[in-house]
């Protein structure tokens, strides 16, 4: 009897633990997983240290999706505090800085642009190699 109880208790704890892990993962999912709508533009991150295409145009309220299609770790960063040169980042007035964090190969990141204007972003480890990209956001029609 005590053996059964112990087993049941252990199983319950295991299931609760699994549920907690799943909840944690959902709660900490990258912005990419949090977005459900299809992106208005997609950008690939390459082995040759470029964002392809290097410039995309979307309307305010639309989303851009970046995919790391390379074997190299990249970031999508439009945060002046992460940049070491002024030319790496440009944000329209009122826009909020964003940063994907480290993106391993095959990982994705999405960002929805609310403020119209021109955004210049970069990859942190390849800032020196001038891995820059641009998003031009026009007012919603």
């Amino acid at each position: 009897m005590s053996l059964v109880s112990t087993h049941t208790l252990a199983r319950t704890r295991w299931l609760l633990g699994l549920a907690a892990v799943l909840l944690f993962l959902v709660g900490h999912a990258p912005e990419a997983q949090a977005q459900s709508s299809s992106p208005a533009a997609t950008v690939d991150m390459t082995n040759t240290l470029s964002f392809a295409p290097d410039t995309v145009r979307v309307q305010a309220g639309e989303t851009v999706r970046w995919t790391n299609g390379s074997v190299i770790v990249h970031t999508v960063t439009a945060d002046p505090e992460e940049a070491t040169t002024d030319e790496s980042v440009r944000l329209p007035e009122g826009a909020t800085p964003f940063d994907s964090g480290t993106l391993d190969p095959e990982e994705r990141f999405e960002h929805t642009f609310e403020v119209p204007g021109t955004y210049r972003y970069f990859c942190i480890p390849h800032e020196g190699a001038k891995m820059y990209g641009t998003v031009i956001v026009t007012p919603a029609e």
Binding site: I72, V73, T84, T85, P105, H126
Partner: protein
């Protein structure tokens, strides 16, 4: 004739003891280097007598000879000012950049002009680039006319892993050293082959052609105009570097050893499209780690080097084997501390 070093790898004593006390006296005679793939061995054999004479003269003229002579027999070298500095450098995810043979554009700040050339003494590629090996156009040097590991061509490989633990204690070149290095690095090609470097069962406590500071150096400036390491790399602030004897592996099997292994954490010296930049284009605010297995070996009984290709096991598109490893890691975690 190159030196054979099998005994350096047969020790079963603990790492620290193996590292220095034994074989350390031999280091000064062997040691190190870094870099380059200047004239391949076959090309050197085909040299005319005049060219061989020029090569010998350039090696005789090596500017660091006097400095090295004063240090290589020191038995009790001074310790680093402020005490030992230990550091760990890791990469646990992401790929690497692998340099391919290419011609290096010559920076006038480092190499001067045809009328006033600089950086031409020492073993070609190791510490100098002979003027006859330089292209000239419009009164300026253009490029190193031999292929070397120091150019713009590269490829990427997946699953780069790097673990470097090291301590810089000994300040200068000497016959013995208290410096320590443990390096494990690996990466994979697209066919799933794994390449790896292991180092160092022995450090280069004194350099034959340029200083190695006991085998590990921290917070220094290397390459370019400095005369420390090949001038084919830009002058670069170096947070940490080492030179030692290690092994080259493919798919878990040793394919070449002993080989001179050099690693360094420097400011960022690549530009757009991963071009190897000139001195004025270096990015001081970013860093990356370079790992080099040079296609050279020390010449027995002499303070110079001769070309010897590395057996990497990696086949180039033209069917030739890549004759060196020059690998860059850029997704780094770095820790350091003063004291033991």
């Amino acid at each position: 004739m190159t030196i054979s070093l099998p005994h350096f790898f047969s020790s079963s004593r603990p790492f620290g003891q193996r590292l220095l006390r034994r074989g350390a006296f031999v280091l000064a005679a062997l040691a190190l280097v870094l870099m380059v793939w200047a004239p391949p061995a076959q090309a050197q054999e085909k040299m005319s007598e005049k060219e061989k004479q020029m090569l010998a003269q350039l090696q005789e003229m090596n500017q660091a000879d006097g400095y090295l002579e004063a240090h290589r027999d020191v038995q009790q070298p001074m310790e680093l000012l402020g005490g030992p500095l230990s550091f760990t450098i890791r990469q646990t995810s992401g790929g690497v950049f692998v340099s391919l043979p290419d011609n290096r554009t010559l920076d006038p700040d480092v190499f001067g002009t045809p009328d006033q050339p600089l950086a031409f003494t020492g073993t070609p590629g190791i510490t100098g680039v002979p003027v006859p090996m330089r292209g000239v156009s419009d009164g300026q040097f253009t490029q190193f006319e031999r292929m070397s590991p120091f150019g713009d061509k590269n490829t990427t490989m997946a699953n780069g892993n790097l673990m470097l633990q090291a301590t810089d204690r000994t300040a200068t070149d000497a016959a013995t050293t208290e410096d320590e290095v443990m390096l494990k690095a690996s990466w994979e090609d697209q066919d799933g082959n794994t390449y790896a470097i292991r180092c160092c069962e022995m450090l280069v406590s004194a350099g034959p052609e340029f200083p190695t500071f006991g085998g590990v150096v921290t917070n220094h400036i290397l390459h370019g105009f400095t005369g420390i390491g090949t001038p084919l790399m830009p002058t670069e602030y170096t947070y940490a570097a080492f030179w030692g004897m290690g092994a080259v592996l493919k798919n878990g099997e040793v394919v070449d050893k002993p080989r001179i292994v050099h690693g360094m954490l420097t400011e960022y010296v690549r530009g757009e499209n991963y071009k190897l930049v000139s001195d004025s284009e270096v990015t001081p605010t970013r860093r990356h780690f370079h790992l080099m297995v040079a296609p050279f070996m020390p010449v027995k009984g002499e303070h110079k080097f001769q070309p010897k290709d590395v057996a990497t096991g990696f086949e180039l598109p033209n069917g030739m084997e890549l004759p060196f490893w020059h690998v860059m890691f850029e997704n780094l975690e770095i820790e350091s501390q003063r004291g033991e």
